[in-house]
């Protein structure tokens, strides 16, 4: 509930607005992650431990409409300098 009704530097109001935006972003992330059945970078899934470039070397796009959850769509990635590669650490590098 909004307690602060002021028109001047109302941080109560902007925190409420921020919360709305955060819920939107969180929903988009969760839905996109669920549909992305692979592991890539910080997106790690125990059920799909490997990267799947054939299916998911693409941007996830979330579209909100009247429904509660966003529809997930994909767009192509333009790779310039850094090619995707295996993420390896420590002794695995050699």
């Amino acid at each position: 509930m909004l307690n602060d009704k002021s028109n001047v530097f109302n941080t109560d109001l902007f925190e409420a607005l921020e919360l709305g935006a955060m819920i939107d972003v969180a929903g988009a992330m969760a839905c996109a992650a669920l549909q992305r059945t692979e592991s890539r970078g910080s997106h790690q899934r125990l059920d799909y431990p490997d990267r799947d470039d054939a299916e998911f070397l693409r941007h996830s796009l979330a579209h909100y409409s009247a429904t509660d959850l966003p529809a997930i769509d994909y767009s192509d990635v333009t790779i310039t300098r850094s090619q995707p590669a295996e993420r390896v650490y420590g002794g695995a590098q050699e």
Binding site: L2, S6, N7, T11
Partner: protein
């Protein structure tokens, strides 16, 4: 066992309700590892949603939470409750108009900051593909301390000359001007002189030194201003001796 508490005496000002600012006291829990900002956040989260203040990083990097804590300009995130008495007075930065509660209007500083061209004025435009502008560690060392400024405005709050004359360009802006003047990649010094070496520029400073004492990043604006005074005095007499160099 009753919990140990701290009393925060916070200056409140609601431009839609109050004629003038007044203090409001909040009792918050004491935690050994809490800074004043934590206590203020507790007030906001648990006691009074209408309290307004600026903050962001909570680690003395963003420069948002500058306030006057028990009479001394400080970052609220950089002042531990344990270093203060049981009753702590929190006020907005001095020498700036109060927008609301602990939030001040900083337009004046933003304008002054822009007026000293706080960026590298390059000798010539250079394409990204032409590579970096190289600098030796010694060249960097000449100005590095002045790059640490986070625009928290504690120095303006501490400066009595800014309080007496708000035309004064002020510590942080002049320190940043000095930082770019000292940069080997920069040729903007003479372009900055109009503002920096003017009467409301460095010459309004009387070297009180309070700015440097309250600076949380050890920038030492007072030193920067003195060095600029010496350099400008050198310029002046050089031009006097060599009139043909006058522009």
């Amino acid at each position: 066992m009753s919990e140990r508490t701290v009393e925060l005496e916070i200056l409140r000002y609601d431009p839609e309700q109050d004629e003038a600012p007044h203090f409001q006291v909040y009792t918050v829990p004491y935690r050994e590892d809490w800074v004043v900002l934590d206590a203020i956040n507790y007030v906001k989260d648990e006691l009074d949603r209408t309290l307004s203040y600026r903050w962001s990083c909570h680690m003395a990097v963003c420069g948002s939470c500058g306030m006057v804590v028990n009479g001394e300009p400080a970052l609220a995130c950089h002042t531990f409750l344990r270093d203060y008495p049981q009753r702590i007075r929190v006020e907005p930065l001095q020498n700036f108009p109060i927008e609301r509660d602990l939030v001040v209007v900083m337009d004046d500083f933003i304008d002054k900051l822009g007026s000293v061209k706080p960026y590298v004025v390059a000798r010539e435009e250079k394409a990204v593909d032409d590579g970096e502008n190289l600098q030796t560690p010694a060249e960097l060392a000449r100005f590095k301390q002045y790059t640490a400024c986070i625009n928290c405005l504690l120095c303006y709050s501490a400066c009595p000359q800014y309080a007496l004359n708000d035309e004064f360009v002020g510590p942080a802006a002049l320190a940043l001007a000095h930082r770019y003047n000292l940069d080997s990649r920069d040729v903007g010094r003479s372009a900055r002189e109009d503002v920096v070496a003017s009467n409301p520029g460095i010459w309004e400073c009387s070297f009180v030194g309070a700015c440097s004492e309250v600076c949380p990043k050890a920038v030492d604006p007072a030193a920067a201003i003195q060095q600029t005074k010496i350099a400008s005095t050198g310029d002046y007499f050089l031009k006097f001796l060599m009139p043909w160099k006058r522009k």
